[in-house]
Subunit: 517 residues, 2 copies
Amino acid sequence: MSAIPPVPAPSPVWSVDPRTGERREQVGAEATPEVVDSAVLAAHAARGALADRAVRSAFLRSAADQLEAGRDEFVAAADAETALGTARLTGELARTCYQLRSFAGSVDEGSFLDVIISHPDSSATPPVPDLRRYKIPLGVVAVYSASNFPFAFSVAGGDTASALAAGCPVVVKAHPDHPATSELVAAAVRRAAAEHGIPAGVLGLVHGFEAGVSLVEHPLIAAAGFTGSVRGGRALFDAAAARPTPIPFHGELGSLNPVWITEAAAAERAEEIGAGLAGSMTMGVGQFCVKPGLVLAPAGPAGDQLLKSLGRSLADTGAGVMLDHRMRDNFVTGVAERADLPHVEAPVTPGPGADNHTVAPGFLTVPAAELVQDQGPHALLLEECFGPVTVVARYADAAEAEALLARLPGNLTATLHVSGAQAAGADGGAELLARLTPLAGRVLVNAWPTGVAVAPAQHHGGPYPATTSTSTSVGTTAAERWLRPVSYQSTPDALLPPELREDNPLGLPRVVDGRRE
Amino acid sequence: MSAIPPVPAPSPVWSVDPRTGERREQVGAEATPEVVDSAVLAAHAARGALADRAVRSAFLRSAADQLEAGRDEFVAAADAETALGTARLTGELARTCYQLRSFAGSVDEGSFLDVIISHPDSSATPPVPDLRRYKIPLGVVAVYSASNFPFAFSVAGGDTASALAAGCPVVVKAHPDHPATSELVAAAVRRAAAEHGIPAGVLGLVHGFEAGVSLVEHPLIAAAGFTGSVRGGRALFDAAAARPTPIPFHGELGSLNPVWITEAAAAERAEEIGAGLAGSMTMGVGQFCVKPGLVLAPAGPAGDQLLKSLGRSLADTGAGVMLDHRMRDNFVTGVAERADLPHVEAPVTPGPGADNHTVAPGFLTVPAAELVQDQGPHALLLEECFGPVTVVARYADAAEAEALLARLPGNLTATLHVSGAQAAGADGGAELLARLTPLAGRVLVNAWPTGVAVAPAQHHGGPYPATTSTSTSVGTTAAERWLRPVSYQSTPDALLPPELREDNPLGLPRVVDGRRE
C-alpha cells in the first residue's frame, strides 16, 4: 500500500534588501510547472490581440505612460531591492519608457516588416512567379530578466518591448534580485494592455529557477531572450537547442569589453584616459555588461601615469553596494583569486568595503606577456569578473598587444584609444581598428563602452559568449529576433494580408522589383 | 612493449551509377580530420581575398561563366551519378549560374550590408552618440550538399553562392551521391577564383560522413548550411549547438508541403488539380524538398473525380530511377509500411518499378479522421517519404481539414487550392489562407510548390523541421545568414571602413537618421 506523497508547497519568493541582506517582504511563490503552463497558454491566447499594428504601438506608448505615472513608486521599489540609487534608477526608467516609445514608432513606420515584392518575370531562370514576402511574429517569447537593470533589461525592458513590437506576447522569468519591482512593472504593463482591450496574459511573469527551465522547454514558447551569466545562459541555450523543436535563443552572456590604449594615446592623454576608465568601470558598481574588464595599456612612463590617474580617480570613488550578497561574495573571491596569481599586482586593491555589504573598487595589473604565453591559471584574467574591478595588461609593443587581442573570446564591445594624429588616420589608425572589429559587436574610438544608446544604428551583441546569436538586444533592429519571413506565391490580391497588397493600402515602405518605395 | 598501430588508409570514395548500382570510378578518398583541418585553414587564409566587393562579384560571375563553359561535361557527369536526366540537369545548371549572377548583382548593389547611421542626438534618452552599423562576414562557412540537386544545392549552389557573396570562404562536404560532379564543379569555381587572384582554398571540398562531423566541430568554422534529412541535419545541428562556441546552423531538414483543396475548388477544377498534383509530386522522381507529400482533398464525388484525374496522370508517368539504391529501398519500404496501415488504400500503388532500379509513382488515401484522432501508427503518414508518393487525406468538412492542419509539423510550403469565387475573396478565402500561414515559409494559392524561384521576395525555409533557423536558403536574403552586424561608435571618419563614411564614397543604399538614402 503506497501513500500519496503530499504536494510540496511552492517555495516563497522574497524581496531582499542588498544593503542589509535581510528579507523585506514575500512576493508570491516560485512558479510550478502548472503555473508556467498557465502563463504560456494565456500569452498564446493573447497573440491575436497584438495583430493590429496600430493597437500594438498604442499599447507600447501606454505602457511607457503607465511606467512614468508610477515612477516614484517604481524607483523606490527598485532601489530597495537593488541599491542602485534613485538617480540611476530614475534615468533607467526614463530610458525604458524612451525604448517603449521608440519601438512604438518603429511599429507604426513598418520597415521591420521587410516587405519585398517580386512581380512575375519570365526572363528569370527559372521564371519568377508573383512573390510577396514580409515578416510575421514567431509566437510567445520567453524573456529572462537581468539582475543589473531592473527596468531596462527586465519585465518591460528591451527584450519585452521588442517582442511586443514584433507582435509576440511575452512570459518573463523575473530576476530573483528584484521580484517586487518585477510585479509592479508587470501590473503597469497589464494596465496599459487593458486600455486597449488586450488580455492581461499578453505579459506573463513567473518566479523561480525551475520555472525558467520549464519555460524554455514549453512547446508553445517560440523564442527566448536572456541577459545574464555565461553559466546560466548557456544552460538555457542548451535546453532551447535540445527541444524536440529547437527555438531561437538570443542570450547575452558575458563580455570582457577590452580597451586598447595606444602608446601615443597614453602619451597624449594619460590623465584623461585614466579618469575616464575609472568612471566607466565603476559605473553601477561595475555591474554593467559593457564594463571595461580588460585594459591593454603600454608599459613605460606614459602608461604608468595613466594608471596613477586611474588610481587617484578610484580613490575618490566610494564603496558601493552590489545587487546581492552572492554577487558580492563572488566579487570578493574572484578578485582575490586573480590577485593571487604570479606577476599580478593590485595598485588599488578591489575587495570588501568597510562593512559587510559594500565593495571597494580597484584594479589589477599583469604583464601582457603572461596572458599571451600562459595557457594556465592566468586564463582566469580573461574571464569576466562582475563588479568594480578591471585588469590592466601592460604590453611592451604593438605586436604583444595584438597577440593578446588574438586570444580573447567574443565581446559586446571593443574600445580603442588613440592619439589625435592616429584619429586623423596617421600611424595606422584604421589598421588598429580593423584588429578590434573581429572581437566585438560595437567598436568605439576615444570613448567608453558603458552607456548603450537606443538608436537604429545600435548593435548590442557580439561573438560568443557575448551573445548566442548574431542579433542585437538594444536598438530598432532588436525586433527582428522575434519574426520570421513568409512569402506568398501567386496569391490573389483579395486573399493577401493588407501589408502585401499591390496598391499598398497601409503605405508601408517596401522593395518592389529591387526598387525601394 | 606496445606496437604502433598502423594508420588506416582513408576509405575510397566511389562514384556510383544509380541506373545499375555499379561503381563507376573512384573519386579520391574520405577526408581525415587532418584533411578537413587543412581545408578549413586554407579557406580561413583566403578570406582577405574576398574583402573587396568588386572582386567578389566578379568572382561570382566568373564562376557562372566557368560552369556554363563546361556545361555538357558537367551535365553528363551529374546524369551518370544521379540519373536525373539531361534536360532537368541542364535546367538546373542554368539556374545555378543565374543564382551566382544574381548574388553578384546583390553584392554590387550593397543593400545586404544594411548600413544604418544614427547621428548624435542629445534629445534621446540616453543621448545618442555617433553610431554607424553595417554587416560583416562571419568567417568560414561549412556547406553540406544535397543529394537531389547536384548543382543548385551543392558545391556551387545557393548556400555557397550566398556565403561567397557575403564574403565568407566555404568548405563543402560533398554529397556521396555525386562526388565526381562535386569535384568538377569545385575545380570550375577555383578556376574562376584564380582569374581574380583569389586562392583556391576559398572553396574547399571534402568527402565522407566523418569529415562532415569534423567540419562542423572545427573551431574556425563560423556557420553552416545544410540541405538533407531530418536525421542527418538534426545530428549536425546538435553538434553545432554543443560546440564550446556554438555557431549558427541553417539546416533545411524535411517538409510535408501540405496542399489543401477546398470542396469548391474540387467541384470547379477536379481534372486540372488532379493532373497538376501528379506533375508536381512526380517531378524529379518525387525527390524535391517541396514535393506535395500530404493532400487534403474533400470526401465525396468532386474529390473522387480529382483522384481519378490524379490516377490517370500517374498512369501516364513512367517509372523513374532514384538517386541511389538506399533511397530506393527506403522508398519501397516506407510506402509499404504506410500502405499497410488500417484504413489506408492505394488506388495507384507506388513502389518498385519493373526492374531492380526504378520506382513507380502512386498515391495513398486515408480518411482525415484517422490522422486527426490517431496518435499511434498513423503518425507515420505525417512524416516525409522521399520519392514519387503522396498521401491524400479525405476530409468530411472544413472543420476536420483544419483540425488536421493543426496537427502538422513545420513546412517549407503550404498550398491552397480554391474556387474562382474564393480567390476573389468570397466564402472566407482570406481566412483559409490565414490557417496555412502558421504552417510554412511559403504559401501558394492555386499553384504547385515544386519550382523555387530565385528572387528577392523568395523565402525557402519554414518552421522546424522545415528549417532550423528563420532564414532562407534561396533568394537574395539568403546572404544574411553569413553576416553579423557591427556598430562603430564615435569613430573618426578617417578610421571608418569606407562603407560607413559620412560622404558615402561607395554610394551604398543606407538609412540615415531614419531616412532611406
